[in-house]
Each structure stands twice: as C-alpha cells, then as structure tokens.
C-alpha cells in the first residue's frame, strides 16, 4: 500500500447522487473542464478522474456521475457501495428533487452502513434565485438534521463548485486518516492474522 501511494496519489471516490435534471453532470463537467453544458441529456453513469492539489497534496478524484433514475435498486446499491463520499444534489427550483434527497440519504446510509459517511447536501441552480422553490433555511435544516454541511452551488456560474468537491475530499481524507489510526489500533490483530496465515502456508 505504501509503495502504491508513492507511485499513485491517493484516490478519493466521490459519487454524485440526486434526482434527474438537478445538474449532477453539469456540476461534474464544470469541475472537471470548467465548462457549462446547457444541453440536457440524461446520464446513465459516467466516471471521471482528475489529479488535483488538495491542500498541497497531490490527490486523484474519481467522480461517479450517476443516473437520476435507476430502475434496479441492486444496481443503485452497487454504485453507492463504490463511493467514499457523496454529493447529494437537488435543484433549488424543484421541491420534488429536494424531497428525493431524503430517500437518497437513507439508501446511502443503508448501503454504506455508516452514519458519518462523508456527505454534502448540495442545492444547485443557485443562479436561478427567481425560480427558487426550496428555501435555504429548509435545506440547511435538513442538513443539520443529518449532521452534514449544506452548500448552494451554480454549475452555470461555477459558484461553490470547487468548494463542494474540495470540501468533500477533505472530509474523505480526514475520514481515511481516522480509519487508518483505528486500523493501526487494530494492527496487532492484523499481524496476528498474517502470522496465522504464514504458519498455515
């Protein structure tokens, strides 16, 4: 593991979830290529990878842009299982998409079985203030309830786009360090296991 880390920068896996049409792909593309795609085309499941500098450290971000609509729960679960952190996106112009975040949150928690999974609630399309249906308060209340940050973004204006990705990656990184220390605490067990294996061999 240590060897690999020197060759390849740490990889953080981020998953974009949320209802269809809320701007998951737009956010991803804005983050990846600094461009805003106006045309809407439903995504199936796309993945992107980018090398970035996170607080002076070379890391890789792996973004899985999922489909807003996935017919098979089992497939959706498999997407979620592969993620280390989640951006749960809704459109502030669409209440339904906000309501759907509840379900996404529950699913992710069920799949990951971890209350503290790195997670950001993202209200997109903040440039469309005039068409707002979900108030900031409403959304941040929900975020508070979940114990996660709430950020409003605009894929069009690139407002807070980098922020949500970087914030999430920091959380993921922090989480990984935390796990490492836990693992180190349990390190003796692991060593024991390894020794056992050796004797068998």
């Amino acid at each position: 593991m240590a060897k690999k880390a020197t060759v390849q920068p740490a990889l953080h896996k981020v998953i974009m979830v949320g209802s269809g049409g809320v701007g998951k792909s737009a956010l991803t593309l804005q983050f990846m290529y600094d461009e805003f795609v106006e045309d809407y085309e439903p995504t199936k499941a796309d993945s992107y990878r980018k090398k970035i500098l996170l607080d002076g450290e070379d890391v890789q971000i792996d973004i899985l842009d999922t489909a807003g609509q996935e017919d098979y729960a089992a497939i959706r679960d498999n997407y979620f299982r592969s993620g280390e952190g989640f951006l749960c996106i809704f459109s502030i112009t669409e209440d339904e998409s906000f309501q759907a975040t509840q379900e996404f949150r529950e699913q992710i928690l069920r799949v990951k079985n971890d209350e503290n999974i790195p997670f950001l609630l993202v209200g997109n399309k903040s440039d469309l203030e005039d068409r707002r249906k979900v108030t900031f308060q409403e959304a941040s209340d929900r975020a508070k309830q979940w114990g996660v940050p709430y950020v409003e973004t605009s894929a069009k204006t690139r407002e807070h786009v980098d922020k949500v990705f970087y914030d999430l990656m920091r959380e993921i990184r922090a989480r990984k360090i935390e796990e490492k220390t836990v693992n180190n605490g349990r390190g003796k067990d692991k060593n024991k296991k390894k020794k056992l294996k050796c004797t068998i061999l």
Partner: protein
C-alpha cells in the same frame, strides 16, 4: 316324382342339386323325413343311388372347375408376386423420400418443422429462427468457454453481444489480462483467455444484469474507451478497442437492462403472488438459486459428466462397441434422471458425439479406392450392426448395398473372359449368384426386422439381376453361339434364380422377362438357318438308301440311333443298307438335338416360339418328300421316298411327341397338324408300306 308323391302322399322332395345346395337344407332332417315317408328298401335304395350320382356329378364338375381355373390361379399367383415386388419397390421409394426429407430437416438452419410448415406466421418464424440462432450461439460458447455450464440454467437466456476486452488495474490503470465478455439477456459473463488451448476461454464469473452497475468511464487520464463495472465488492475496469465498440457495449447493456426490466414487470404482473419474495432481496434470492444449482450439480454421477470426453476417447481409439454402450447408458440415465442444465448440457455434448460416431461408422462402410476389400462383407458387419443400433438403419442399409454393388463389380472384372462363352457364363453366373446368395444371408443377419431395409434390398437385388441380365445378353446373344450352348447357359441362370428363391427373393420372372425376347429371336434365327440348310441339302440329295459299307459300321450306326430313341432295324436291307436317305438320317439326328434344346428352354411364355420352330423345321424337311413325289419320279424311287416320309411322320414324329409329352405333359398340336397334313403322302401308297406303317406305329406305342 310322381311315384314318390303317389306313394307318400306327402311332399318329400326328390334329391336334386338345388335342394341340396339351398341354404336352409339340413341333412339330418332331410334323411329323417325321407326314411319316414319312404316305404320299403327298394325305394330307399333308389334314392340313395340318386344321391350318389349327384355326389359323383358334383365331384366331376368340381374337378373340371378346378382344372379350368388352375391356369388362372397360377397366372394370378404370378401376377401377385409381381405386384408384391412392385409394392416393395414403392415402399423403398417412400422410405428413401422420407429419409431425404428428415435429413433436409436436420440440416436446415431453422428448427424442427418450421421448414415444412411454412404456413405458420412470419412472426412466429422469426422468433423461432432467433431461438435457433441463439441456441446455436450458446452451444458454440459452451464449446469455447470451459466451465460455464450454468449458461443453460435459464431457458429464456439469450445471447446478445460478445467481445474481447482488456481488464485494467483500477488503481494503476495498467492492463491486467485479456478477457472475453459475453452479454446475455440476464447477465454478463467474463471468461479469461486460457493459455493452453487455442480459442479457449475459462469461465471466470457471471454477473447478474439486475445488479450490475455499469459506468461509462469518460475520463481516466490516458486511458480511453474504458468502462467500469461495479458489483460490490468488485470494481472492474475494462478497455475496449475503440470508441465504437465501447459505445456498442454501453448501448447493449442499456438495452439489455431495459428489456429485462419490462420482462420482469410483465412477470410480476402475471405472477402477483411471487412479487413479495422478490422484493425481499435480490441478493438472497440469487444466493438461493446458487445453492439450488450446487445441489443439482452434485446429483449426477461422475461417469455421466465425463461421458462426452470418454466417448471422444472411445471413438478415437475405434472402440466403437464401448462408445455405443456408453451412449446407451447415457440415454438410459437421461430418461430417468432429473432434468437440469447439467443434464441438458451433457446430453447436448453426447448428441454431438453420437453424430461423430455415426459419421465415423459411415466412413467405415464407404467405398474408397485405396481401401482393401479383402475383408469383404464380413468386415463391414460390425459397422453395420452399430449403425443400426444407433438408429441409422437406413443409412447402414444404403451403405451396405453400395458395398455389395462394389464387391459384385469387382467380381465382374475379375472373371476371365477367355475360353468359351459357356465356360465364362458358367463361371460368372456361379460367382455372381453365389455372391448374391451370400449377401442375402449377410443382409438377413444384419437387418432381420426392418421392412424398409428389406424392400431396399429387394430393389437392389432386382437392379443387380437386371445388370447381370444385360451383361449376359451382351455376352451370349451378341455373339455366335450354338443352340445347345445357349440352352445350357440359360438353364444355368434359371437354376441359379431358383436357388435365390430359397432365400425368399423370387426374381425369376424378371430375369426370364429380360431374356425372353432374345431367346425368341434366337429361336427364330435357328429356325431360319435350319430351314435354309434343309433346302440347300435337298438340292444335293439323290434319294438313295444309305450304304454303311460294313456290318460293323451298320450295327454301330443302329446303336447310335437307338440311343437317341430311334429303332431303325426294320429299315435294314441286305447286309449294309438302310432304307433311309443319308439326309434324313442326319436330319433326324439334328432335329432331335434341336427338340431337346428347345424343350430345355421351354417356359410357358416361350412355348409358342418353340412350337413354331420345331414345326417349321419339321415341315421344311417333309416338304422335300412331297416335292420329289409331285415331280413324278420312277415307281421304284417313289416307294423309297414314301418310305422315308413314313419314317419321318411316324418313327421320328412319335419319338418327338413322346419327348414333348415327357416334358410338358401334353402332345404338340402343331406337330400333330403337320402329321395330319402330310399323312396323305403315305396313305396313297401301296399296301405293303401301309402294312409297315401300321406295324411300326403299333411298335412304337409298345
């Protein structure tokens, strides 16, 4: 009638035919009535005599009827046997057609009967066609990929797409291995390349489509054309050759998923009670399936699972009996075992081996130029027997008969053509018919219970005999041959045909029919030649008694003719003279030979031609006597000529008729007519000759 009526006063009928043959006639009752009403012995005796007469009469008429109908009976029996063979030929044709159709059906790409039943709707046909193609595809995948027996587990599984992919390390993006991926309507199968065999893959895993998360990798540094598969805990990245193949893959995935979804929904709607269990968890469900699968896999014995390989070994080592035994064992096992995908899989493989075995066996029987035919039919016995047991008796029969044809042809070529025709015919017919008899025995041994094969065999024999007949005709009739040799040859062939009859193959009529016209023509030719020579010899005849020069020679001559059946003692005058012309002496000799040969050739159908020939020749000779008498010769010579005519018309004629009757059971009408026609020649003559005539004729009858 009157008498009985008067006597009895009651109506007891006199016995007559109509009464006795009436339906309600009861003998007991009739006799009782008679004895009641008849008074006295004489009356009863009279009635008894009458009944006896009636019985005799009936007997006679019955005999007559039988005799009259006898020929008819024989004719119809013959006709029946012809019809029988025709029916056999028809049946053979039909079975040939049938096997042709079935072979067409099996070779056709389309399934089962879709070829024949064109009336079925186009849509149905398309579906069927697709099913068939799918089935074939699955089968070919099964052959290519080791260890993917689960493939047939789901009956509705259809093949959608396949292609080579390179698997990448998810972290380092380097190529780990090359795989072959197969997309089915319900899952994705990954098979890794097997280093050992060419074009062989080893089954690695099968992902259920319902839980397979496919991710389009849009950006992965330098890596292009990649997609990801997420199935917890696996994350696998695969790389395609090009953008188009990747696009194709993603589209196929999407399409497959959508189709599966609609199908699942339909299923859910049609089986509502099943939906709760489905909603519990797909994972656990698939686990259950897997467990079930494991159970059935272990249910089959090892020998059964290894049967296809074992069969390959057996066929390769030419242990055909073992292969067949194993095949039968598999079939038996399949009949009782539980139906599952493993069974179906093995069955399918075994079917392929079955076909292989059949092919190999058929090859065994095929005739090739390089092949030694030393073993003859005996060598083919095993292959034929096995083919029959494999259920290919028609093909076996066909090949067997082809082999027979080939063997016979070799015999034709081998038989030496040197020497006289009779020797050749004797050799050839002996060899050919013995061979056919032998082949018949072999055939009956090989195909004891198959009517289709039997008819094929009869058709074959018939073809062989007509080939033989043609050969015979070419050799015998197209070259100069004496009548005795001809008769001998034909007699030989007939004898052989008769021998074939003992095997139940009665084709005498066929050979006879083929030869008849040629025999008739030959008879006519001999007839013409003979008549010609008679006329020619008559010109040189000076009508003198024959001088035998010495007593010794005379007795020698007498003995010679006596052996032929002609007693010439009464024609002797002096010590060395015979009162018969040398010409007539020779004629009687040759005519008797002709008669013997003709009688040898005799069949009912040829009788007319034979009668013609002998009567024509005989008449030609007697006519010379008539001619010389009508020319008005000296009285001396006249008596001599008449005596000669008398010799022909009585002594010779009686002998001829006797021989004729011996053979046929009745005298020759035509010869009799000639005898009657020319009897005036000898009746117009002096009493001395008449005495002689009566004397000799009575002698002959003694």
């Amino acid at each position: 009638m009157n008498f009985s009526k008067d006597c009895n006063g009651m109506d007891v009928k006199e016995p007559d035919k109509t009464l006795l043959s009436s339906i309600d006639f009861s003998p007991e009752k009739y006799v009782r009535d008679l004895s009641q009403h008849c008074v006295g012995g004489p009356e009863l005796r009279r009635l008894r005599k009458k009944i006896q007469n009636l019985s005799e009469e009936t007997n006679n008429s019955l005999k007559k009827n039988v005799y009259q109908n006898y020929m008819q009976f024989i004719d119809s029996a013959k006709e029946l046997s012809h019809l029988e063979s025709e029916m056999y030929q028809l049946s053979h044709l039909l079975s040939e057609q049938k096997s042709l159709l079935t072979s067409l059906c099996t070779t056709s790409i389309l399934a089962d009967d879709s070829m024949i039943i064109r009336r079925s709707e186009n849509k149905d046909e398309n579906v069927k066609e697709q099913n068939q193609i799918n089935h074939e595809k699955l089968a070919s995948i099964l052959e290519k990929v080791e260890g993917c027996k689960e493939l047939l587990e789901v009956s509705a599984r259809t093949y959608l797409y396949e292609g080579p992919l390179a698997e990448l390390d998810p972290l380092e993006n380097t190529v780990i291995k090359n795989v072959q991926a197969y997309l089915f309507s319900d899952g994705l199968m990954i098979a890794t390349r097997n280093g050992r065999g060419l074009m062989k893959y080893v089954f690695e895993t099968m992902y259920e489509l319902g839980s397979l998360a496919v991710v389009n990798v849009k950006d992965l540094g330098n890596i292009k054309y990649a997609f990801k598969i997420l199935i917890f805990p696996d994350t696998r990245i695969f790389k395609c050759d090009s953008e188009t193949t990747k696009k194709e893959w993603l589209e196929k995935f999407d399409h497959a998923k959508k189709t599966k979804l609609t199908q699942d929904q339909q299923k859910r709607e049609s089986v509502p009670e099943k939906s709760p269990s489905r909603s519990i968890s797909i994972d656990s469900q698939s686990l259950n399936q897997f467990e079930e699968l494991e159970d059935t896999v272990t249910a089959h014995p090892e020998w059964f699972l290894e049967a296809p390989e074992e069969l390959d070994v057996c066929i390769a080592q030419r242990h055909f009996d073992d292969a067949l035994a194993l095949l039968q064992r598999v079939v038996e096992y399949c009949a009782h075992a539980q139906q599952d995908h493993v069974l179906i899989e093995v069955q399918r493989k075994v079917d392929v081996r079955h076909n292989n075995l059949t092919q190999v066996l058929m090859k065994e029987l095929e005739i090739s130029t390089g092949k030694s035919m030393q073993g003859g039919l005996g060598a083919s016995r095993r292959a034929v027997r096995l083919l029959i047991m494999l259920g290919h008796s028609n093909q076996a029969c066909d090949l067997f008969l082809k082999l027979c044809t080939y063997l016979l042809k070799i015999q034709y070529d081998r038989t030496k053509k040197e020497g006289s025709i009779t020797v050749y015919v004797k050799n050839l017919s002996g060899i050919i018919f013995t061979n056919i008899c032998h082949m018949t025995e072999e055939f009956l041994k090989n195909f004891p219970n198959s009517s289709a094969c039997c008819s094929a065999y009869l058709v074959w024999v018939s073809a062989q005999l007509s080939y033989f007949s043609n050969h015979f005709i070419k050799r015998v009739f197209k070259s100069p041959i004496s009548l005795s040799n001809l008769a001998e040859c034909i007699d030989l062939v007939r004898w052989h045909c008769q021998k074939l009859c003992t095997y139940g193959v009665d084709l005498c009529y066929q050979v006879e029919g083929a030869l008849r016209t040629y025999i008739t023509k030959a008879l006519k030719d001999f007839n013409d030649k003979f008549v010609e020579s008679i006329k020619f010899k008559a010109l040189d005849d000076n009508w003198n008694p024959t001088n035998l020069k010495s007593k010794n020679l005379l007795s020698k001559c007498l003995n010679e003719y006596a052996e032929m059946g002609l007693i010439l003692n009464s024609y002797i005058t002096g010590d060395v003279w015979l009162q018969i012309t040398a010409n007539n002496m020779e004629f009687s000799k040759t005519f008797l030979i002709l008669l013997n040969n003709c009688l040898k050739l005799e069949t009912t159908e040829l009788l007319y031609a034979i009668n013609d020939t002998i009567s024509n020749v005989f008449e030609a000779q007697i006519k010379q006597h008539e001619l010389i008498l009508s020319e008005g010769t000296k009285a001396d010579q006249k008596t001599f000529v008449i005596k000669n005519a008398e010799f022909l018309l009585t002594t010779l004629m009686v002998l001829c008729q006797r021989k004729y009757i011996e053979k046929l059971g009745f005298p020759c009408e035509k010869l009799k007519q000639i005898q009657d026609k020319y009897s005036s020649l000898i009746t117009v003559i002096s009493p001395t000759t008449r005495d002689i005539k009566t004397k000799y004729s009575s002698d002959q009858y003694l």
